[in-house]
């Protein structure tokens, strides 16, 4: 468990760095963010209090020292206050994010799991049946790995939603005002989730397919796989023994992958007008809603760190060599 403790400490440090970056960036980049906000809000006059709040948030024109601003920033964060969203009716940022977060979490979470399982599974197959037609999958897979998420999303919408009409092209559900746990609602949600999820899976599975294939090829040369076959074990079992080892680098590489997948998922959400963080993000950019941008950055970072921690747990579970036993 020492490994986990070390990783946890590292994530805490990273979270601190993220908050600090959130604090520093508006102050380091040339220009006055408050002015930018004000100039964007033509026709709307803000109260003096609001403007003061903004200046405090971004460190504009304030006489407090950098350090005291920093500590003040930390105290607001720790109180759960991420600022006010000016483009969403001046409600707290946390409220806005809370509305969108479940959609993103659900979509990304489910898609990532499917992608990992499918990707590593196909990778094992391609490696095991080397020299077969499956090898021709690899260039196709390469293409999808390189294509931007939103381009695949475009194709998905154009093909499956518009031309074939199988799935809806946007949104997460019909405009029902309530979310009821009945079948109509759930099936509607699923219906709307298929294309975005498909996009994410297609774009991200490629990395795991190729990675798993490469590691499997090396693993299959190991003595213990030969012994497994020599033991007269059935073939699926032999494959399992090899895959069980080969999957480890993919799990530890999950940390890098999840960052990219989340980024890609945000872009996908935009194309599908899915009411998650992605849509919030692009609107915030357009409206210069800096507080919302900062808030989204923090939440996404924390979510990615949490996912990493889960991956670390899974790795320790899968690889007995990492367990420090007395």
């Amino acid at each position: 468990m020492r490994t986990i403790a070390r990783r946890l400490a590292f994530y805490v440090v990273t979270a601190i760095v993220a908050v600090s970056l959130d604090f520093l960036i508006p102050r380091l980049i040339p220009g006055n963010p408050v002015d930018a906000i004000l100039s964007h809000m033509q026709g709307i006059t803000l109260s003096r209090a609001t403007i003061n709040g903004l200046e405090l948030q971004f460190g504009v024109g304030t006489k407090a020292s950098l350090w005291s601003q920093y500590t003040h920033y930390w105290s607001t964060i720790l109180h759960g206050n991420l600022g006010t969203s000016i483009s969403n009716g001046f409600v707290p940022v946390t409220t806005v994010i809370r509305g969108a977060l479940p959609w993103t979490l659900g979509l990304v979470g489910v898609s990532t799991v499917i992608s990992f399982v499918l990707g590593t599974g196909i990778g094992v197959l391609v490696a095991w049946r080397r020299g077969s037609w499956l090898d021709n999958l690899l260039p196709v897979v390469t293409f999808f790995q390189a294509a931007p998420y939103f381009f695949i999303a475009f194709l998905a919408v154009d093909l499956f939603a518009i031309k074939l009409g199988w799935f809806p092209a946007e949104g997460a559900h019909q405009n029902l005002d309530f979310a009821a746990f009945n079948w109509t609602y759930l099936s509607d949600v699923l219906d709307h989730a298929v294309l975005p999820a498909l996009t994410i899976v297609v774009a991200s599975a490629a990395g795991w397919i190729v990675g798993m294939r490469n590691v499997m090829l090396t693993t299959m040369d190991e003595d213990y796989v030969l012994i497994a076959a020599a033991k007269g074990l059935h073939k699926p079992r032999v494959v399992w023994y090899a895959a069980r080892n080969a999957v480890l680098p993919s799990v530890s590489g999950f940390a890098l992958a999840i960052g990219f997948i989340v980024s890609g998922a945000l872009l996908t959400e935009i194309v599908f007008s899915y009411p998650g963080l992605g849509l919030l993000l692009v609107n915030a950019v357009g409206d210069n809603d800096y507080a919302l941008l900062q808030g989204i950055f923090l939440i996404i970072t924390f979510a990615v760190l949490a996912a990493n921690l889960i991956a670390d747990f899974v790795y320790v579970f899968l690889d007995p060599r990492t367990r420090q036993e007395a």
Binding site: T14, P148, G253, F297
Partner: protein, 340 residues
């Protein structure tokens, strides 16, 4: 490429334990890349895009901002507009040809800068070890874990769209988020090289550290630096496209920018495929070219992958069992004179 963070070994083709031919600078020059189908395809595609970047703006039929006939919707491809028009009745082909240049510039600038950073940080950490290594590793890991796009979004968000027109600034900021992966791989490799006998003997003899790094270590890192460079260029391509798509950098003119406009006009919902397919496909193909090149180099480094049969046509005489691949744990029995 598979990446391992839990272990120290770079996975997926860079095996520091390879029975190494010591790549002295003289021998590096004599190295030629094998004629692999992958490398050739990758290079070919890449060359095509470089060409587009260079001569694109010169051969574009119209100016990209120029608007034409007053129609309410984008027009499909026709004689006058080979790739159709946009919502504002601008020529898609011209936008496409002009847009390639900024893409290539940003991608290569960010790739080059990120590679320089990763070499500096990774090799230093690996070579010096100790506290410096611990600090640099922590620094690298933090940047590795922090999700890149959200970080870039707030950086560019505060920077403002107008001031981020300069390809160099864009490339620089992108490179700040893209160096960490390469640094980690290079550090691992440097660590293993540093403990090799010939480096030890150079140290004992009293060679200056910069000479050791320059003549013993860096040449052996060449394949990894090449892979890392390609990877960061690929990252630059994707990231720049995404940033333009989000409207964080000036969309005029880049492929990501075209997609930004297309998205704003709901091109995909309305079926205006000629507007988003060319730029999207171009980005995908450019990315594919880089990935292919990377595969090719990976296979060059790790012969096991090559033997698994992905490298195009067989160079040697064909194997007698080319119809049936050998089964696992069942040694093939091919007697003289029999057909299998």
């Amino acid at each position: 490429m598979a990446v391992s963070i839990g272990t120290e070994q770079p996975v997926g083709g860079t095996d520091p334990g390879l029975p190494g031919v010591v790549l002295t600078p003289r021998r590096v020059r004599a190295l030629r890349l094998p004629r692999s189908g992958k490398i050739q395809a990758g290079l070919g595609l890449l060359a095509f895009f470089v060409l587009v970047a260079i001569i694109g703006p010169l051969i574009a039929p119209y100016s990209p901002d120029q608007t034409f006939a007053n129609a309410p919707v984008p027009l499909p491809p026709s004689g006058a507009h080979l790739l159709g028009t946009t919502q504002l009745q601008q020529d898609v082909l011209s936008q496409f040809l002009v847009g390639g240049r900024s893409m290539m510039l940003v991608a290569f600038i960010s790739g080059a800068l990120a590679t320089v950073l990763s070499v500096l940080i990774g090799v230093t950490a690996g070579y010096l070890g100790g506290l410096v290594d611990d600090l640099l590793s922590m620094f690298t890991n933090i940047f590795l874990v922090l999700p890149a796009l959200p970080l870039l979004i707030i950086m560019f968000g505060f920077l403002g769209r107008s001031s981020s027109n300069d390809v160099f600034i864009i490339g620089l900021i992108i490179s700040v988020t893209g160096w960490a992966f390469g640094a980690r791989v290079l550090r691992a490799q440097t660590l293993s090289l540093r403990n090799r006998d010939y480096v030890d003997s150079a140290r004992i003899v009293g060679e200056k550290w910069w000479r050791i790094i320059g003549t013993e270590i860096l040449p052996n890192l060449t394949p990894i630096v090449a892979t890392s460079f390609l990877f960061t260029v690929l990252y630059g391509v994707g990231t720049y496209t995404a940033l333009a798509f989000l409207g964080l950098v000036n969309p005029n003119w880049s492929w990501g920018g075209m997609l930004f406009y297309a998205q704003n006009s709901n091109a995909e919902i309305s079926g205006y495929w000629w507007w988003f397919v060319p730029p999207g496909l171009a980005v995908a193909l450019l990315g594919t070219a880089l990935v292919l090149l990377n595969f090719g180099i990976d296979e060059f480094i790790n012969p096991r992958l090559r033997a698994a049969g992905l490298t195009g046509r067989p160079r040697r005489r064909s194997r007698p069992w080319s119809g049936r691949r050998p089964e696992f744990a069942l040694t093939a029995v091919i007697r003289e004179g029999s057909e299998q």
